[in-house]
């Protein structure tokens, strides 16, 4: 954060944001950001019953199964995190 803003109300805004999962910051990796997007997507589908039944219909699966699978996938929706570059 730029130093001018450090002592103003915006600090609190920043802190407030950081307390929630899914928010990002200037140094976030694409993996982290996209993972959050995926989780949000799954959460949204699981949360909206019509959407869920639509997907169940398209998949030919029971809604319960689709729901379960989506919840499971939320663990690592885009696969394992990329290896850290050696520094």
């Amino acid at each position: 954060m730029s130093s001018e803003l450090r002592y103003t109300a915006n600090t609190q805004l920043e802190h407030l944001h950081a307390r929630y999962t899914g928010t990002g910051h200037a140094d976030i990796t694409k993996y982290d950001w996209i993972t959050h997007q995926h989780r949000d997507t799954y959460a949204s589908i699981v949360g909206h019953a019509p959407l869920l039944s639509y997907l169940a219909l398209a998949d030919g699966e029971a809604t319960g199964r689709v729901k379960f699978e989506m919840t499971e996938k939320m663990l690592q929706p885009c696969g394992p995190p990329p290896k850290k570059e050696e520094d």
Partner: protein, 1186 residues
């Protein structure tokens, strides 16, 4: 040494009248008229004896070695002391105290014997005399000095002696200053010998041996032993270099002592010493010899050549006594500009001692890094402590940022001594404490070695009388304990728990309670348990129990989860051997019960029995504490238990009603109140068993004299009335309304007021009613001091009685009318105030004739010259107008309002408020009775009220504009307000904008917006900003209606959002925010999109208000445009190569995300192209089709 001996000592002086004469002479010169107020500002001077004593103690303790940090790795400090050392030191201290006491005891005995000897033989032996004078024979000199300064100066000796003493003190400082100042002339007739001759005979001199300044020396040594030079060998004052003294006159004796304030002269360039060079020029080369100093003359440290801005005044390297003396002589004309620091708000002489190093200009290239760092810290601290607010702010930021770089040691070495300065003032302390707080946060565990030193300085804040100081102290200690950790805090404070000094134990207990609240009670419990059971010393147990008490007081109901543990911790203390421990335990239980109320009775099961036995066994203070505990526990009990215990305890309470001890009285009252409030106690019991004794013991005139007793008695009686009923209590005291003593009448009135307000007057029968009204009228008329009690009482009782007062109204109103014409302004004011309170009831009783009579009399009184009274009269007129209504008002509104117009010009706040309320009401309800011209006149007057300090007045004025505009039509009012945007004062402009918005709201936005847009075209910046602000308020007030006006204001907003001026863009952003929120879902997306494009580039602004407004506007856009569009804007910069850009965009993204997380899901971009072997970034779920 105690004071009686000093009395004896003082009898060896010159006759009193001579001394007084000198005193008067001395007084004529150099008195600082502000000295008194300066003293009052000093925290130490203001505090109680206890606090002062504590401060002394803190100064002693502050000098101990830095403690080791046992948790730090690989730190084997040579000069740091560990826990063991602290404990050993503490034991030594205790031993020292014991020895000191023994010595004092011995001396006392010897003295007594000596007295006997004296009686036998009129001339006592010389040593004995010396001893009695408190001379140097007394062994512990430091201790003696301590004793001296522990005695508060006021309490020392009364009257003239004290004053005289102080003056000598002063004189001495000046002299010392002069000594070190002067080296040029040190010979000649001023030599030792000459003075010796001039000096008074030996016998008289002995009194002056005790130079008061030496006391100061000793004190200072205590404060800084490292720096202190050995106290100078004892010399008579007359031996010292007496430069600048006038020739000894024939008056002899004490005459020479009164010298001109030499130092002040030396500051003046016309009056300073001549230098050797100057003398060489002036005097012929031959015929003069420089005289050698006489043997035995000691030159005071030669002054170095100084380039300080202080001009001829020197600061020594170390903080020795001499420096302090110089500094003291420096006086108020100290420098306010220091090299490298810049301008300061003030500079106290004491500061010179601490900041001596930076007062000089030094060659910084030769300094080591450490020295440079030290100077840097000092500069920053000086800026923070003495600087102007902007200077202070930047310095504070710098010191915070660099805290870890500076390190804990150098920082605290500089900060802590400053905090221990005697002359510290509130503001300075606040700032320094703030520095510690900020620095602590940064230093974190680096602070460990300094924990004790910080505590020593901060603990006294916990018992400060100032609430904010206490809060600050708590804050620091809580941060400290979070930084240092529980284990370290305990090991640091453990030695102080059984410290000999009660003050230290007290503050330590409070500090511990803060630690408990910061780190949680459970973590501290094992320690508390151990301390409360300590076998080693009762002090430790006492402190442990006090910690529990403090925890309860501080944390309130947060103790509930740990209540049983805490009670068990202290329970055994009720049966302790030490009386003090038992008392403290009872107090702790009382605090716990108070904090836990109304829950947690089961936790107290174990202590009920001992408490019960206790109140039968104890007497005096112990009993008071036990009663207090019982009193707080009873309300927690079930009704039947409560009633049983109340009956049991009442016997003792009634016995203690007679007690003469003030503390006991208070506690008894409190307990009675608590018992009466419990459910199980029956009204009959209270009436028969408690009331008779209670009234006999507490309803006496004496109780009304002390304010705290007064309050307690009233509270308790009101509580009893809840059970016993109104007539029972009021009947008992109503006759006392005619008592001779005014305070007592007040106590009666206050009680009646509260009882009637709580329980109503339906219980009062006709006879009592008559007595009551009669008594109240009497008490009201007889009051001599002005306060609210009688007035409130009258109002409350009359309002409670309602229509029943009808038969007394004629009498009351005639009293009021008569008093409205009284000579005294206060009486008139009270009468008017009473009218205000009575108006509603008079109307209720249907006595409209009386009201109109009152109204007319008040109208005639509007020429009142005392503003307070005038305010009350206007308020009374307003109250009448309120109940009568505008149509029936007498005098008619059309006469009343023109009379008010000139009064609006009155500058007095009360008058302003009362008149604006009256006018606002007339404008609201009866505007049609007054011609439009009059209203316009009032509009102009109202503009002045917009400058008022009180917010209520400004708000009332702004609202009045709305009412007036409603009745007159907006055009003229709007014109007045728009013109007012051109004035200089910001506050007036801001209020005008609000008024414009209110007019727009009441008369419809279409009446105002064109005018505002037109006004915006004015070339004046203030006017344009004002127009923008007004629009912002308009759109805020009208909400969804703004949909009709969006297109009209878009062009203006385009202009404002592309203006160079920051404030323009800020205000325009605010307008956009209100617009966007107002029109969300109303189909204005096209204009909103346009505005969004104009707002967006402002997101890189850094000024806090601007960026705040812009962020708000963007968030509002999310609501009206939908998160998808906003997301596509944001995506542009989330991974921008420039960090500054990324930061801003992520902030917007986060705000967006938190506002509309779910609805963003469909709008996330398809990132499947980024997939690699390891990760797939496709969102398959969204790619399904049916």
């Amino acid at each position: 040494m105690s004071s009686p001996e000093r009395h004896e000592l003082q009898s060896y002086t010159a006759p009193k009248d001579v001394l007084d004469e000198f005193a008067a002479m001395a007084e004529e010169e150099d008195i600082d008229p502000f000295a008194e107020t300066a003293l009052k500002r000093q925290i130490l001077q203001r505090g109680s004896d206890y606090q002062r004593k504590g401060a002394e103690r803190a100064m002693e303790r502050g000098n101990e070695a830095v403690r080791a940090d046992p948790f730090a790795q690989g730190q084997e400090g040579e000069d740091t002391a560990g826990y063991r050392d602290a404990m050993r030191l503490q034991m030594l201290e205790r031993e020292e105290e014991r020895v000191r006491r023994a010595i004092a005891e011995k001396e006392r005995k010897e003295k007594e014997e000596g007295k006997q000897a004296q009686e036998e033989d009129k001339t006592p032996p010389a040593e004995l005399l010396a001893l009695m004078r408190g001379g140097d024979k007394t062994p512990p000199r430091a201790g003696e000095a301590m004793d001296l300064d522990r005695t508060p100066p006021k309490a020392q000796v009364s009257g003239a002696t004290t004053r005289r003493k102080r003056r000598w003190d002063l004189k001495d400082d000046e002299e010392t200053a002069v000594e070190s100042d002067s080296t040029a002339v040190n010979t000649g007739e001023w030599s030792d010998k000459a003075l010796e001759e001039a000096a008074p005979p030996k016998k008289k001199r002995s009194r002056w041996d005790e130079t008061p300044a030496e006391e100061k020396d000793v004190k200072l040594e205590e404060a800084a032993p490292a720096a202190a030079a050995a106290p100078p060998p004892k010399r008579s004052r007359w031996d010292q270099t007496p430069a600048g003294m006038p020739a000894p006159t024939a008056a002899g004796g004490l005459a020479q002592i009164i010298m001109p304030n030499y130092h002040a002269l030396s500051e003046d360039k016309n009056n300073r010493y001549m230098s050797d060079e100057e003398l060489d020029v002036l005097l012929p080369p031959s015929g003069y010899v420089i005289v050698t100093p006489p043997p035995g003359y000691e030159r005071v440290a030669p002054p170095k050549n100084m380039s300080t801005p202080l001009g001829g005044f020197q600061i020594q390297e170390e903080g020795s006594a001499a420096t302090a003396a110089i500094a003291a002589a420096l006086g108020p004309e100290a420098p306010t500009e220091i090299p490298g620091v810049g301008n300061l708000a003030f500079f106290k002489p004491e500061d010179a001692t601490y900041f001596s190093k930076i007062l000089k200009e030094e060659d910084e290239t030769e300094m080591t890094v450490e020295e440079l760092k030290e100077r840097k810290i000092m500069r920053l601290l000086l800026k923070i402590k003495n600087g102007t607010p902007p200077v202070r702010k930047t310095a504070l930021r710098q010191i915070t940022d660099k805290a870890r770089e500076f390190g804990a040691g150098p920082l605290f070495d500089k900060i802590l001594p400053l905090l221990m300065e005697r002359t510290l003032e509130d503001q300075e302390r606040h700032l320094l404490v703030k520095v510690i707080d900020r620095v602590l946060y940064k230093l974190d565990d680096l602070v460990r070695p300094y924990v004790h030193k910080i505590l020593v300085v901060i603990e006294p804040l916990l018992i400060d009388e100032d609430y904010y100081a206490r809060v600050e102290g708590r804050e620091i200690i809580s941060n400290l304990s979070k930084a240092a950790g529980l284990a370290h805090m305990i090991s640091t404070m453990r030695p102080d728990i059984d410290h000999v000094d009660e003050y230290v134990r007290n503050t330590t207990a409070r500090a511990f309670s803060v630690v408990a609240s910061a780190l949680g009670i459970p973590s501290l419990l094992p320690f508390l348990r151990a301390v409360c059971r300590s076998k080693k010393s009762w002090q430790a147990r006492h402190t442990g129990i006090r910690i529990v008490q403090q925890i309860a007081i501080m944390m309130g109901c947060a103790v509930l989860p740990h209540l049983r543990n805490l009670v068990d911790c202290v329970a055994h203390g009720l049966e302790d051997d030490q009386q003090k421990v038992r008392t403290m335990t009872a107090l702790a239980l009382a605090a716990l019960a108070e904090a836990a109320a109304p829950y947690g009775i089961e936790s107290f099961d174990n202590v009920l029995k001992p408490l019960w036995i206790g109140i039968r066994q104890h007497r005096g203070k112990g009993l008071a504490a036990f009663l207090k505990a019982i009193g707080f526990i009873i309300p927690l009990m079930d009704p039947e238990y409560a009633s049983y215990y109340t009956k049991e305890v009442t016997v003792i309470l009634i016995r203690e009603f007679q007690s003469s001890d003030e503390e006991m009285k208070k506690i008894v009252l409190k307990v009675v109140k608590q018992c009466a409030a419990t459910e199980g106690v029956t009204p009959a019991y209270i009436k028969h068993d408690i009331l008779p004794e209670f009234f006999k013991a507490f309803w006496v005139r004496r109780m009304a004299l002390d304010k705290r007793n007064f309050k307690q008695v009233v509270e308790t009686t009101v509580e009893l009335a809840q059970k016993a009923g109104v007539s029972e209590i009021v009947g008992r005291i109503v006759n006392d309304l005619k008592d001779d003593s005014e305070p007592y009448r007040k106590m009666v009135m206050e009680t009646i007021t509260q009882v009637v307000a709580k329980l109503g007057a339906s219980d009062i029968d006709e006879k009592l009613e008559e007595k009551l009204i009669d008594g109240i009228i009497y008490a009201f008329q007889e009051q001599t001091t002005e306060d609210q009690i009688m007035l409130d009482g009258f109002g409350t009782v009359v309002n409670a009685l309602g229509v029943r007062v009808k038969k007394y109204l004629t009498q009351i109103v005639s009293t009021v009318l008569w008093r409205l014409n009284n000579k005294s302004a206060k009486v008139r004011q009270q009468a008017a105030d009473l009218t205000t309170r009575l108006a509603v009831v008079i109307k209720q009783c249907g006595e409209d004739a009386l009201l109109s009579k009152l109204g007319l009399v008040l109208f005639e009184q509007l020429g009142e010259e005392y503003p307070d009274t005038l305010g009350s009269i206007i308020a009374a007129e307003g109250a009448i107008a309120n109940v009568v209504g505008m149509t029936h008002m007498n005098p008619p509104v059309k006469d009343l309002l023109p009379r008010m117009t000139p009064i609006l010009r009155n500058r007095h706040e009360k008058v302003q408020e009362a008149s604006i309320n009256l006018i606002g009401r007339i404008a609201d309800r009866g505007a049609e009775f007054v011609p439009a011209r009059e209203w316009m006149r009032i509009c102009f007057e109202l503009l002045d009220l917009l400058k008022a300090h009180k917010k209520g007045i400004r708000r009332a004025a702004v609202n009045s504009f709305g009412y007036i505009a409603k009745s007159l039509g907006p055009q003229d009012v709007l014109q007045v307000l728009l013109t007012n945007l051109r004035v200089q004062e910001r506050q007036s402009r801001v209020c005008s904008t609000v008024a414009i918005a209110i007019v727009a709201e009441t008369c419809g936005p279409f009446t105002c917006i064109p005018a505002i847009l037109n006004e915006y075209r004015t070339a004046e910046l203030n006017v344009r900003t004002g127009c923008l602000k007004a629009l912002s308020f308009v759109f805020e007030y009208v909400g969804p209606q703004s949909a009709f006006y969006v297109d009209s204001v878009v062009t203006m907003l385009e202009d404002a959002l592309t203006d160079r001026d920051l404030v323009h863009r800020q205000t325009a952003s605010t307008i956009v925010k209100h617009l966007a929120l107002g029109v969300a879902g109303l189909g204005c997306e096209d204009s909103m999109m346009h505005l969004m494009n104009l707002v967006w580039p402002n997101c890189f602004e850094t000024s806090p208000h601007v960026i705040g407004a812009v962020m708000d506007a963007i968030e509002a856009m999310r609501v009206s445009l939908g998160p998808g569009i906003l997301l596509s804007y944001t995506l542009q910069g989330l991974f921008h190569p420039a960090r500054k850009v990324r930061e801003v965009y992520w902030r917007i993204y986060n705000a967006l995300y938190l506002g509309a997380e779910d609805s963003m899901v469909p709008f996330y971009p398809d990132l499947s192209d980024l997939s690699d072997k390891r990760n797939t970034y496709d969102r398959h779920a969204l790619q399904m089709f049916l």
